[in-house]
């Protein structure tokens, strides 16, 4: 299936997943067996789509989200601004918009997804939106939104999922008054249940963001070609001169569909990421629909890129089986200024597992952890702070959960590392000078043998002679001894040392 020993790989789509796949493939192919041609619809170099909401929030400039150039310039050709139009699977050729033909032995579809545009605008010509209305999927979208915020007085975000909340926080951060309109009963209803969503809503409200849940948008109100608001079901109109549509995404499947490949919501692929209809055609990233379902998260797409690169480069004899999806790629964390929401794995009650929750509505906190078979298999965190980071580490790596899963809900208070405040309370075995292994008992012992100052103690125990950090502590103990044992005259220094008596180390 290849010319000589070379395998021609055509990748359609030069986004985060397509670019990562090309790098992964060439990295695993030091012998240069594979040649890749990448068709990218956008004129730009690939960029970090995940960070578009940060651009909107004004926390990143565009230059900071451009992805690494491929390090494999000799074996990889990138064709930006090249739209794949048809696939001739019989001939093994992709035709582009300019009429060029790209032969392949292996075809990888990484066409991604586009923003789902809700039916608010009547009939549209060429997918055009009225001025003031924007989706957020591309760099151009982000630039336009940023430009619009300069004059915006009132923004409405349609869709209270992860991206919607990130955009709302970002706009609020820029000082634009925002309302989030969400048709479902809960914000982020793919990830959060009622109580968790309530905690998130409370947090958004405190950031000055209005939240309308269970509110269906009927249509955009447009005047003179410009958006002036949205009309909700029931007739209420929310005024807005900036309308951001974050109502989910739709996998880009047109090309695959025209080529006669199996398509459901996305391009159907098996565990091996190949189309059941054609073993030479693979799909990865947001356009794909693997058996476990597409999450729309970058971690899943990158995992697929890595697995496909492994599949193509390693001879099947060297593998036990097809590399399976990595666990823990479904962690969702909202990147909102002032909003702390993390969700992963399963949520809700579970047979055979345990679910513990911490509900702290007044504190803006809600944490749920699901444990089964001694491991964290799901967690939902709102306002959880560092606990969320700990849970992600435990969930993604499958480390043993505590016997009592409730221990996962708060960070254990760190034990006291310094000796007890009062020398009276300090146990004799407490190490005072770590550098020289000197305990409180040693210092008391040398007081009994006549030491009366820090210098005396240092001379006979070496305490304070390393890093010097224990000087105050030794001083405190000497003062305490002086107070509690004031009249005792200093005995004559012992002439010979005993086993317990710390004396200078000598070689005899």
């Amino acid at each position: 299936m290849s010319v000589g020993n070379q395998v021609r790989v055509v990748v359609v789509g030069h986004g985060m997943v397509g670019a990562r796949f090309v790098d992964d493939l060439h990295q695993r192919d030091p012998g240069g067996r594979f040649r890749t041609t990448v068709l990218g619809a956008e004129e730009y170099e690939p960029y970090n789509r995940v960070l578009l909401s940060e651009v909107v929030a004004g926390k990143l400039d565009v230059a900071s989200i451009t992805l690494p150039r491929t390090a494999h310039r000799t074996s990889s050709t990138v064709l930006p601004g090249t739209q794949a139009v048809t696939i001739d699977r019989h001939a093994g050729v992709v035709h582009d918009h300019a009429g060029e033909r790209h032969r392949y032995d292996v075809l990888v579809l990484a066409t991604g997804a586009r923003a789902r545009i809700p039916e608010l605008f009547g009939r549209r010509v060429d997918d055009d939106l009225p001025a003031g209305a924007h989706a957020l999927r591309t760099l151009d979208d982000a630039r336009e939104i940023v430009a619009a915020t300069v004059n915006a007085h009132r923004a409405v975000v349609v869709g209270g999922g992860v991206l919607g909340l990130e955009v709302a926080c970002g706009l609020a951060h820029r000082g634009v008054p925002v309302t989030v309109v969400h048709g479902g009963t809960n914000l982020m209803d793919r990830q959060l249940d009622g109580p968790a969503a309530a905690a998130a809503t409370a947090r958004l409200t405190s950031l000055g963001i209005s939240v309308r849940v269970g509110a269906r948008t009927e249509e955009a109100v447009v005047s003179g070609g410009r958006v002036t608001g949205v009309r909700l079901e029931g007739g209420e109109v929310l005024a807005a001169d900036l309308l951001v549509l974050t109502a989910g995404t739709v996998p880009e499947v047109g090309l695959a569909q025209r080529a006669g490949l199996d398509v459901a919501r996305g391009i159907v692929v098996g565990t091996d990421l190949a189309s059941p209809a054609d073993a030479r055609v693979f799909a990865i990233g947001d356009c794909a629909e693997p058996p476990e379902g597409g999450s729309g998260l970058i971690a899943q797409g990158w995992d697929q890129a890595r697995r496909l690169a492994t599949l193509l480069t390693e001879p099947s004899a060297a593998r036990d089986d097809v590399p399976l999806p990595t666990a823990g790629t479904d962690v969702v964390k909202v990147k909102g200024v002032g909003l702390d929401v993390v969700a992963m794995g399963v949520c809700g009650p579970l047979t055979g597992g345990r679910r513990v929750r911490l509900s702290d509505p007044e504190g803006g906190r809600h944490i749920e952890v699901v444990v089964a078979d001694g491991r964290v298999i799901g967690a939902t965190c709102v306002g959880a702070g560092p606990v969320a980071a700990d849970l992600v580490a435990a969930y993604t790596r499958g480390t043993p959960a505590p016997t009592d899963p409730a221990q996962l809900l708060v960070r254990p208070v760190a034990g006291t590392a310094v000796p007890a405040a009062s020398p009276t309370m300090m146990p004799d075995r407490a190490v005072v000078c770590r550098c020289n292994g000197v305990t409180k008992g040693d210092i008391v012992g040398c007081w009994r043998h006549g030491a009366r100052s820090v210098e005396d103690v240092a001379a006979s125990t070496r305490a304070t002679t390393g890093c010097g950090g224990c000087k105050d502590a030794v001083c405190g103990i000497v003062d305490w001894l002086r107070r509690s044992d004031p009249d005792q005259p200093a005995p004559a220094r012992p002439a010979t040392d005993t086993a317990d008596d710390p004396t200078p180390v000598t070689a005899r």
């Binding site: 992805l67 980071a389 200078p504 180390v505």
Partner: protein
Amino acid sequence: MTRLAAVTTEGAATHCPYCALQCAQTLRNSDEGAVTAAGRDFPTNKGGMCQKGWTSPTLLRATDRLTTPLLHGEPVSWDTALSFVATRLAALRASHGPESVAVFGGGGLTNEKAYALGKFARTVLATPNIDYNGRFCMASAAAGANRTLGLDRGLPFPLTDLGGAQAVLLLGSNLAETMPPSVQHLAGVRATGGLIVVDPRRSATADLTADDGGLHVQPVPGTDLALLLGLAHIVLAEGFADVAYLDERTTGLDDIRRSVALWWPERTEQVTGVPVATLRRAAFLLANASPSRGGSGAYILTGRGVEQSTQGTDTVTAAINLALLLGLPGRVGSGYGAITGQGNGQGGREHGQKADQLPGYRSIEDDAARAHVADVWGVDPADLPRTGLPAIELLRSLGTPGGPKALLVHGSNVLVSAPDADRVRERLASLDLLVVCDFLPSETALLADVVLPVTQWAEEEGTMTSLEGRVIRRRRALPPPPGVRSELEILADLAARLGSTVRFDTSPAVVFDELARASAGGRADYSGLSHARLDAEPDLFWPVPAGPTPHPGTPRMFLDRFWTPDGRARLVPVDHRGPSDDLRRDAPLFLITGRVLAHYQSGAQTRRVPELVRSAPTPFVELHPLLADRLGIDEGDLVQLDTERGRGVVRARLTDALRPDTVFMPFHWAGTGSANRLTTDATDPISGMPEFKVCAVDVQRWHGPVEVLEDQSLLFAEEVLA
């Protein structure tokens, strides 16, 4: 009774035998006629010493000090031993070629001995196969600094410079235990709240951040590289980068900007387990301390915790990238540095013990370097071998078909200090000839066919190069016991017995002069130095080239230019891959390894000092109380640890200083408590440094017999205490 011979009433001014801080100490005769050690005022230790330094004279009276050569365990004369070694080496070389003999050196050897050993291997043995235990310590830091700054000197600035810093990012170093007196230099930064310690464990060093001293960052083991990429992302995103400096003094900014675009804070949190808020705080502390933002200076320092990794070179590179983004290296009061571990870890890597290097930090593949060194040695450059096997590959190949059949070990206890120790034992046992030079019967020496007793620190003259590139004098305080010889004498004797005409001097001062000539023009140029000059001037940092007027030395490097061909530092993009032996269902915990204050390296010396044994008597494993509870383990219980390499059994210590997904073991012991029977020998692809610091482990309560602990190492400890 050991009386000091060459010691005046002022005592012998020398330096501690152990770590790279090389605390200045004075050895004196006490009133009772014994040798005592006291701290001596010096810029690095400011008069301080830790318990190891104070008790170092105990080594001079070790009851099992080697004072006679041993052949298959039996005392023999020097002539018998050396003639046996020479005959066997000659026979092996004749039938299997010069590569069949290998040499393994140590980072504790003086510059003179390290130099002579490298010369002996390349000329007398003509073998490419020489490497040293510094491959376990400094190789990744060296590779990272060389490819970015163009030169590797552990700290390219005096240690005392840290005193004025507003922020110090310390990655994977527990210097409060490994070199305690150095903590004095962090007093200033702790007072400003700018000390940032990155360690999965709340070590003694991490504790220095308590009470508003700074910030302890506690990542998932093996994710330091991701953490650094995440910090670089924040620095660029927030506009903290020093644009003018980057423009003027570096290349590669665009590639770095793109590579760290992938490490936004939320992703970094998911990989490292470090909350976004903590990442931001660390980045802000560093940025605000940076000169371009009006701060009084910031340092980024790396240690073994991040370097002993299969991505160690990349991690060091990422640390240097971050430092460059902030405009730190090559500025007075700011910078990047690696904290060298072993006493002469710095000098040991500069003078020819490394498989790919000739004296003066020269590449053995560089023809001009070969010609220069060959001229000093009086040999034909064409006869010098090329690059040999790095340490781990060398150890793995011992006794295998085509691999070395004889090994000479100098100043290293590989059986305890190398990873995957059971395999090391197997390889050593398969050798035709194992020769160990040591002054104590280390675990490795006990396996040797021939043991040659050598001098130790207080019995010899020489030089060491400390962690800051300062060349210091080691001075003889007393004569060695009868029967003991210096390695310089042994190498000269063996060279003659093997029929070599290459000259091997035995006087350290003369050997140093030759080393200085060999290093002339190299990166680590010592040609302007001599023992006499060093006796008069204790503040000389290399390079110190010879010249018509004495060169003042180079305390601070890179002030004008980096050591790259165009004088600019290189920003090199790197990415995180993760540990080689990652967690799996049947090994769901991270094992991390490290040190305790009372012991040094393999413990061959410190396990023989009663005070130190009392402070840290036996091996142990630390685990979090939540994990212990889950596993049904109580304080002091015997615990078994299983990795893909082997099993260890030690007692449990419960502490909340660790992440609950991680257990910690110090590596100073042999036997069932040997951490390195568990560690992996997977290595960094660039530096060849093994991944000591992290592997996957299963931990259970030990239900077997208690006698398992009656292994030699522990019995020995009890003997010392009794």
